[in-house]
């Protein structure tokens, strides 16, 4: 290729192209834009936006710059709030990689939460084994709820969107009813859990000045690694991704598409179920009779979208949304309306659709680039336009 006659600013435009073509970069841009809008909004209502940023800083580092104090508990609470978001994000992401829209992480989360509460109250209080069994039970409950959807989809072509939404309600009311049957329960709580069922981690607690940060932290990190490993490194992940991108081609290649769909939903359910257990046994000392949805399942969708359905991305995005949620009380104490954080997370999700916009923009630029090159060639008359045609990919689509 002859690029000697390209315009001088070409290097710069290429950088913009590759930036916009990179999904991760777009995610970062979107988050920054969301924060920018939030800032503008605060100014608009006549408050000082620095309050929002100092609240965020305090959530992230425990540092209160207004009073000059430091308390690690803020960090611990932030991480604790992020864990279920990350896990529900993994749940959504895992299904999404197989081409499914798992809007049912909420239901799978409730199933896991309920199963964990039952094990906590009824399993003999053997140290360690108690909470391990509770986690396993939660994973199984989530897997059942997810797997049911996968089976319906694979066997009867029931839309997973409809099935998961319905199952969310079934899980919710089933959980309420079942939990209220436990002797000693009232309309909002069960008796307290034995200490052996709790996910308490002394190390993490002492590091974060007695926050509620618990063993769930390690479970979540393990899940992120597992997620990445399955998707990227294993045969199963290859099959799931092939199914997600092109079901027809996957089928032609001998991949059993229907069973892959079921497996994908089972794994998605496990992640969400574990999220339920971690909230139940990490943040509460008693079983809850749910009064409403915790919404971790739905907010997890946002985390997965911003994190591009990757393990690391979802982890980071979950931390971001967890930070926004835990910064709320601190913002209120600085006279910033706490709703601003919901506006920011909402904006981030809406702006993620910018990704499609970025693609349109890139196509427009690619078109201009060819034109520019062509004009240069006509001007110089030296090189043949066949070079530029050769370098263009996928051109055949437009003809024939």
């Amino acid at each position: 290729m002859k690029h000697t006659k390209e315009p001088a600013h070409r290097g710069k435009t290429d950088k913009l192209d590759s930036l916009l073509a990179n999904d991760n970069a777009v995610s970062v841009i979107v988050v920054l834009l969301g924060l920018l809008f939030g800032t503008l909004l605060i100014i608009l209502v006549g408050k000082n936006p620095s309050g929002m940023y100092s609240a965020m800083l305090q959530t992230l580092t425990g540092l209160d710059i207004e009073r000059g104090t430091w308390n690690a508990r803020y960090i611990g609470e932030w991480l604790t709030a992020s864990l279920p978001l990350i896990l529900c994000g993994l749940s959504f992401g895992f299904a999404a990689r197989t081409g499914l829209f798992n809007i049912g992480a909420e239901g799978q989360y409730i199933a896991g939460l309920t199963a964990a509460q039952f094990v906590a109250l009824y399993f003999p209080p053997i140290p360690i084994l108690h909470w391990v069994v509770a986690l396993i039970a939660a994973a199984i409950a989530g897997a059942l709820f997810g797997g049911l959807v996968g089976w319906l989809k694979a066997r009867f072509e029931v839309s997973e969107v409809v099935a998961t939404i319905m199952l969310n309600y079934i899980a919710f009311f089933l959980s309420r009813w079942a939990t209220m049957q436990i002797p000693g329960s009232n309309t909002y709580k069960t008796p307290s859990f034995p200490a052996s069922a709790m996910l308490t981690s002394n190390v993490l607690q002492s590091l974060t000045n007695d926050s509620r940060l618990n063993i769930g932290f390690w479970v979540t990190i393990l899940c992120c690694i597992l997620y990445w490993f399955i998707i990227e490194k294993t045969k199963l992940g290859f099959e799931l991704r092939a199914t997600g991108y092109n079901k027809e081609a996957a089928r032609c290649s001998g991949i059993k598409v229907t069973s892959r769909i079921s497996i994908s939903m089972i794994l998605a359910g496990i992640f969400a179920g574990l999220a339920g257990a971690i909230v139940a046994l990490g943040s509460f000392s008693y079983g809850r009779v749910l009064a409403g949805l915790d919404n971790y399942g739905f907010n997890g969708i946002a985390a997965a979208l911003v994190g591009n359905n990757t393990g690391l991305g979802t982890f980071l995005a979950g931390l971001l949304f967890g930070m926004l949620a835990s910064a709320q009380p601190l913002m209120q104490s600085r006279q910033i309306p706490k709703e601003i954080t919901w506006i920011i997370s909402g904006l981030v999700v809406v702006l993620i659709s910018l990704r499609a916009g970025a693609k349109l923009f890139l196509a427009w630029r690619a078109k201009n680039k060819v034109r520019m090159r062509m004009e240069i060639q006509t001007a110089s008359g030296a090189s043949s336009s066949e070079d530029s045609l050769n370098s263009g990919n996928g051109g055949q689509k437009h003809n024939g």
Partner: protein
Amino acid sequence: MAYAIEMLGITKVFPGIIANDNITLRVQENEIHAILGENGAGKSTLMSVLFGLYTPEEGKILLRGKEVHIKDPNHATALGIGMVHQHFKLIHNYTVTENIILGNEPRDRLGNIDLKTAQKEVERLSNMYRLEVDPQAVIEDITVGMQQRVEILKILYRKADILIFDEPTAVLTPQEIDELMAILARLKAEGKTIILITHKLREIKQVASRCTILRRGKVIDTVEVDKTSESEMAAMMVGRAVQFQIKKAEAHPGPVVLSLQDLSVKNSRGSSAVDNFSLDVRKGEIVGIAGVDGNGQSELIEAIVGLRHVESGRILLNGQDVTSKSIAERIRMGVGNVPEDRQKHGLVLDFRLDENLILKTYAKPPFCSRRGLLNFGAIRQNSQRLIETFDIRAARGPETKAREMSGGNQQKAVIAREIDLSPELLLISQPTRGLDVGAIEYIHSRIIAERDKGRAILLVSFELDEIMNLCDRIAAISKGEAVGIVDAKQADEREIGAMMAGLRSLHTSEFGGKATSPANPS
């Protein structure tokens, strides 16, 4: 001579490609002007500009010397420009007349559609140009050739005097092509101006007076057809001398590899697509299935691959009944398949090239360990080997997304993967659709090389030339039925054409699983 249409300096740019680069086309009044070019040369884009579907970046259009800015197809129609599209735009459960008047219905005084007047007008036009179309027939009951004539009537009804035909012969049998050529001549005799888009030289020779040749978005030349030879035009189209005949040695067929016995398959709508079809394919021979698009070829291949349920009959692979075996099992037993639609069935476009190249072998060592872990080193090596052997061109090598590759290289990737399976039986559908001549020559030579290695090959193509050139035996399919099978050496294009239209030939050998054909030298 006056020009009916002048397109001056037309430039149309798509992302990543200049489809039309400063193209000037002058079409004389009352001539048949051919536009010749390979797939992707910019023919259809140019005509879409003329028909108002695309706005060009640069250039102007003169209609009988006056500049026009064609906004949309309705505007083009109003100006007397009509287009017969490659894929017909007809409503299947409407009658011919209803389709023709759609969007332009004559009304009586009460505002109701006046079908009687319309029918009379359609009949008049049909008789005038001897199109022999029954105005009251329902579209789904009439042949493809007839449907095309309805399309022609549609634009005549709208009083077009400049008619654009976009690859009109792609869907026709040889007999129907002859009829169309006669119709084109009659239209010209009645004073119409015709633009014929094609990549078939014979048709140009037959009817066109002048021909404009496009290559890679540029005009190469406009020539007088009777003063230019076919090979000269071909050379201009491709940019170098072209071989018309494929060199291939005598076939040495061995034992039967694939045996289809009274196979019946339904299509997705539940009606019969393949009906009591029997055919044998032997080791070391290429058997072609000739037929017009939509006569059960796709369903037949899908049934052999295992994608489609077999209603009755059996599929034997090396004597073993595979009729109810899974897709994966059939792949393992040696069925390779180059599908008709490479983007839908052949490739995962968002996968990288190296991933696409293991799409059928990913579960086997060395690509996958016994514990289910992928071996990326082996995957990369495999792709580098195939990229080299099959001359696959991809900007970023193994890491290139299939989506970013050109159509020819996507097809090379699919063929590389399927051939590398070293299958017992290689099914190939439409291997060269949408490819340029260079890629076509390469793929043809690869297919013959595989035959010479002793593979059994079943080839489906809608291009009769491709079938005649490549195959050792040719089976014709019509409405899902095997009409006849002939030895390629003795095959006559007319005869196969008649069989494609459903007429059984006298010269065909006995059909059926056990019958030996003249192609078998033993």
